[in-house]
Symmetry: C2
Subunit: 427 residues, 2 copies
């Protein structure tokens, strides 16, 4: 077994035990990248010598951090002090920022080896798509906007990678690529240094191959309760099986994934209960769009004024309020979201987690359509933690996942549930 | 009259008419700065040649922007591509970022001459204070955290300057320095590139010498309704005279300012009505602190891990949750804020504006105590627009202001009210 094949948690264990170095792991990942990158195209920036030097510096460190020696890829709309941050936009080609984004700073301080930048939909929002291909079928999208990060983790190029989620940009690619992904409670991880689209929605997320990998990153960010994990088993866990208000948009394989996950959990002893969200939740998907477009008006104003000719029309559309979102509509959306957040928290501790689709189906063919975010965007607006878990293969052999969702700030508890249910859901 | 003595709106008029150039105005401001800076100490970075070159570039421009040729100072925790951004922190001394913060980008694209960086409380939050003195009395603080920006506008060094407000960092210094200040609706101005303290609270604000100056900046940011100003007179305006839940903390001169503003407005024909906020508002000040400290936990984590020795203890306190804010407490604060935001919007259009204290009294003596933010912090959490207006002189001859407050997204309407009431309130 090559080091690149190890999960983050496994690799961290070997590094701690002294049987693996940051340098050896980074070198193995770089070899995997060199082999696969011509097909997968996950990276926008990769300097092998820089990465190896970062790894050697970690190996020389006095105090091992939580992410000690683990190669970590960064979505290319999150700033890095030692690499350009291009946002997949001609406006920022080769842009060098003077300091790391807050999330990168934390990962680096905890010993992560920042290995390179991964391709993204332009500004993690619209416009140009990533060049990245789905490692399971290069004719298909890995999803977006965290395209390169999801694909890189799925393909063994790196054990961990940062994405972001404003609509469905972390959890949907996790489903399409067959990896675990986490979108934590909004606001817990500082988004400073990541491109702004919507301050109400933008959330830093990450990918790993197991729930234990996701937990390592949550530990680095000092999540509430993260240091008191509960060793749970599926037996007796109360799971709300929630097709949600957008069920009509789920392809057969997405429906099958949810049903399969439910059956597998029930067979493992969990108490799985059909769960319908009450009426106000039916409008949360629409409210997310109002917030997204309303806040998008200000998000790209500087770019639209500074370099209009090179800014994609999609962003001029947002600045020009192409959806005609009124302040009244935004207030409706803000106030509905606030009401539903409180309501949703109230479903706990009656349930340990809500189980719901992670994507509308398999990854679409081509590069342009990165998939429908509709099974993610309402949770993003609700600010609740979501963990994507692979489940079945669809009719084309592509991965199809599900997600579990918890109450606001219930991230650590949801990780406990994920560790218990992930092996069952994966079958 | 020297050009530096012109308000932003006056200077903009002359530049438009061709009787003043960006270069001449910038040169005049630089002369004023050279004369006064030894006493006021408003700037952390100022390169006269760079500023003059920026002004000449504006003079050569084809299309005049909304802020064409107006010198604009930037609080030194907001990124600028051509000047360092030091955050008044030893961690970021001389830091060079690769691109402008979003607000700076907009101002620059609209023709503003970014003239220099102004001193701030460390990270606009805690720790080290600015060196800046109050231009009205150098033994006193100009307030914080936007210390240098408020003082620079008050002292004629620049017609316009960016500040920020997370507690009371824009409106309180406006009161202490006797200038107009605006804290717009939260989220309307993209905070990207300004240091994060609290994503729920951080708001970009600005200073000018008149409401018309404030309006220019709001125009640059394409505020809803800003292009349809109403020419109002004080006659018939419905003003809610609102001491607010923290009235007990108001010094006699703050009480006198509110009473005087109310009387002057009444004498000018406004309908001034005593107004008491209903009970849930009594807890909003406490809720703001819960959000501030709760979100501050993540805001400074990267700094605390990366360079603990040089980070002020105040920030370690926040990372270590020195106030012991629990997730439950944060949820209480978030949900209370959401409830009160909706309630507050409901007071309009019954009123045209809420009139309330801008600060607890005159600027304190010394540099350490930048004043109590308690008359600002609840409005910051409520996300509503606030405009600070100078009113009286206190017992020590220092300025004491008031503020008018509107509903969320009512910024343009509040500016209309400010233009009508400011000359009356100033007496």
């Amino acid at each position: 077994m090559e080091p690149w094949q190890l999960s983050a948690a496994e690799a961290a264990g070997r590094i701690k035990a002294g049987t693996l170095t940051a340098e050896a792991l980074t070198r193995s990942c770089l070899e995997r990248i060199a082999e696969r990158e011509p097909v997968v195209k996950a990276f926008t920036y990769l300097d092998p010598l820089l990465a190896l030097n970062s790894a050697r510096r970690v190996d020389k460190g006095y105090e091992p951090g939580i992410l000690h020696g683990l190669p970590f890829a960064v979505k290319d709309m999150i700033d890095t002090a030692d690499m350009p941050t291009s946002h997949n936009s001609p406006l920022y080609e080769g842009l060098r920022q003077g300091r790391d984004a807050a999330c990168v700073g934390v990962a680096r301080a905890e010993g992560a080896v920042i290995i390179g930048k991964t391709d993204t939909v332009e500004f993690a929002a619209a416009g140009r798509r990533a060049l990245t291909r789905n490692p399971h079928d290069p004719t298909r999208t890995p999803g977006g906007s965290s395209s390169g990060s999801a694909a890189a983790v799925a393909d063994g190029m790196v054990p961990l990678a940062f994405g972001t989620q404003t609509g469905g940009s972390t959890i949907r690619p996790a489903s399409f690529c067959g990896v675990h992904g986490m979108k934590p409670t909004h606001g817990v991880v500082n988004t400073e240094g990541a491109k702004r689209y919507s301050h109400t929605l933008d959330t830093i997320g990450w990918y790993g191959r197991t729930p234990a990998d996701l937990r390592l990153v949550a530990q680095a960010f000092r999540f509430y309760g993260i240091d008191n994990p509960r060793a749970l088993t599926p037996t007796g866990l109360r799971i709300a099986l929630c097709p949600g208000p957008n069920w009509a948009l789920a392809a057969p394989e997405a429906r099958e994934a949810l049903a399969t996950a439910g059956k597998r959990l029930e067979a493992a002893g969990a108490i799985v209960e059909d769960f319908t969200l009450p009426p106000p939740f039916g409008e949360v998907t629409e409210a997310q769009l109002a917030v997204l477009y309303g806040e998008g008006r200000g998000a790209f104003l500087a770019e639209a004024l500074t370099d209009p000719g090179r800014l994609h029309d999609d962003f001029h559309d947002r600045v020009n309020n192409f959806q005609g979102v009124s302040p009244q509509r935004m207030l409706w959306a803000y106030d509905l979201a606030a009401e539903c957040r409180k309501l949703f928290d109230g479903f706990f501790p009656r349930f340990d987690a809500v189980l719901t689709p992670a994507a509308a189906g398999e990854a679409p063919v081509g590069r342009q359509d990165t998939g429908n975010p509709v099974f993610n965007s309402m949770w993003t607006l609700l600010h609740v933690p979501c963990i994507g878990i692979p489940c079945i293969k669809g009719p084309n052999g592509m991965p199809v996942g599900v997600q579990i969702v918890g109450p606001r700030f219930g991230d650590a508890e949801l990780l406990d549930v994920a560790e218990a249910v992930s092996p069952v859901i994966m079958g």
